[in-house]
């Protein structure tokens, strides 16, 4: 592997969920309100994944009060605290820009179902459990926080 790719792997987040275009996700994003910070959850459909390594971004589209909103999240940014897949999408394209031209019920993406999805979902659950377990093992106090987060998700 090229040295630059090795470096990006070391610098970036170690464990990110495997995301696909068409997936419905909850992005836990740390926002600043005055001098306080809190986590805002932004949920929508991934319409594009761009970049690789530490420069990987996802574009998440949702409809807010009848108006389409797209936000691009750099996945390795520390402000993006978590990305939770709530629903897998069955799509045949890498970029779902055609959703921009649609309104109402047509903006929905068909759900991807099947054995593979089930297996991946179980793997994802196991991965999250492993992270929580690791956190619990490391320290007692912060482990409680992360456990709560997983429940919310």
């Amino acid at each position: 592997m090229k040295l630059i790719d090795t470096l990006e792997q070391e610098l970036g987040k170690k464990d990110l969920p495997t995301l696909h275009p068409g997936d419905t996700v909850d992005v836990h994003y740390l926002i600043r309100e005055g001098d306080k910070e809190r986590v805002q959850i932004y949920s929508g459909t991934i319409i594009s994944i761009s970049g690789r390594g530490i420069r990987k971004n996802i574009c998440v589209r949702r409809i807010v009060q009848g108006e389409g909103v797209e936000r691009i999240f750099p996945l390795h940014n520390p402000r993006v605290q978590d990305v939770v897949i709530t629903r897998r999408g069955n799509v045949r394209r890498a970029k779902l820009f055609y959703l921009r031209d649609r309104v109402g019920k047509k903006t929905r993406v068909k759900e991807l179902v099947g054995d593979k999805v089930r297996r991946e979902r179980d793997a994802e659950k196991a991965r999250r459990a492993a992270i929580t377990a690791a956190a619990t093992a490391q320290e007692a106090a912060p482990a409680d926080d992360s456990a709560e987060e997983t429940v919310e998700a």
């Binding site: 040295l3 470096l7 940014n77």
Partner: protein
């Protein structure tokens, strides 16, 4: 003043705690060996010659072979000098590593830019382009290059098409964001001249003031 020789590895991003991102160039800097010391009496000026990256013996030209053999140093691929004001304080065989720099330092990076061959005025000097439609045939042409009967010649220094790139270039006052001493890597904010794997020289910035 510190000079170190290295190789550009490539570019990536660094995220700060508050989520701001910085584009950085990774340079594999050193270890460099002092291969020669130039003195006032011998050479007419004071300088230190540094060498970077070993090369196989069969590739070394005979004159260079002698140069390295004299001080029993493994042949190096990339040699550059650092000019000094006074006599050198180091000795032949001393090693300069990436830890010569630290986070927050300002540096100048010297490299050879990517060669672009014979380039037109748009790429080479940033001229504007003409219309592509509405019957225009003046798409990438340079336009007028001067006056008429007076002076009936083109003024010297008129920017025109020609060879572009593959030239020594210095980018000044770049900040060092991180130093990896183990692997001799320096993370420099911004871009540096040349392609990935190109040789570069990193030196303490000649102008510019280090902020607090």
């Amino acid at each position: 003043m510190t000079l170190i020789l290295g190789r550009k590895i490539g570019m990536t991003q660094l995220f700060a705690e508050d989520g701001t991102v910085a584009g950085v160039t990774v340079v594999e800097a050193g270890p460099c060996v002092v291969t020669q010391i130039r003195t006032e009496e011998n050479d007419g000026y004071n300088a230190v010659q540094l060498g970077f990256e070993d090369m196989p013996d069969r590739l070394v030209a005979k004159p260079q072979r002698g140069h390295f053999a004299k001080n029993e140093i493994a042949p190096k691929r990339f040699l550059r000098e650092e000019r000094l004001n006074g006599p050198a304080e180091c000795e032949i065989g001393d090693v300069v590593k990436a830890d010569a720099f630290e986070e927050g330092d300002l540096v100048d990076v010297i490299g050879t830019t990517k060669g672009r061959g014979f380039a037109g005025t748009i790429k080479r000097h940033g001229f504007s382009r003409g219309k592509e439609t509405h019957g225009s045939h003046n798409v990438r042409a340079p336009g007028s290059i001067g006056c008429s009967a007076t002076p009936s010649r083109v003024l010297k220094g008129k920017r025109s098409s020609g060879h572009y790139g593959n030239a020594r270039k210095t980018t000044k006052n770049l900040r060092i964001m991180r130093v990896d001493e183990e692997r001799n890597l320096i993370f420099i904010r911004g871009g540096v001249p040349g392609p990935p794997n190109g040789f570069v020289q990193v030196r303490t910035a000649k102008t510019g003031i280090k902020k607090g």
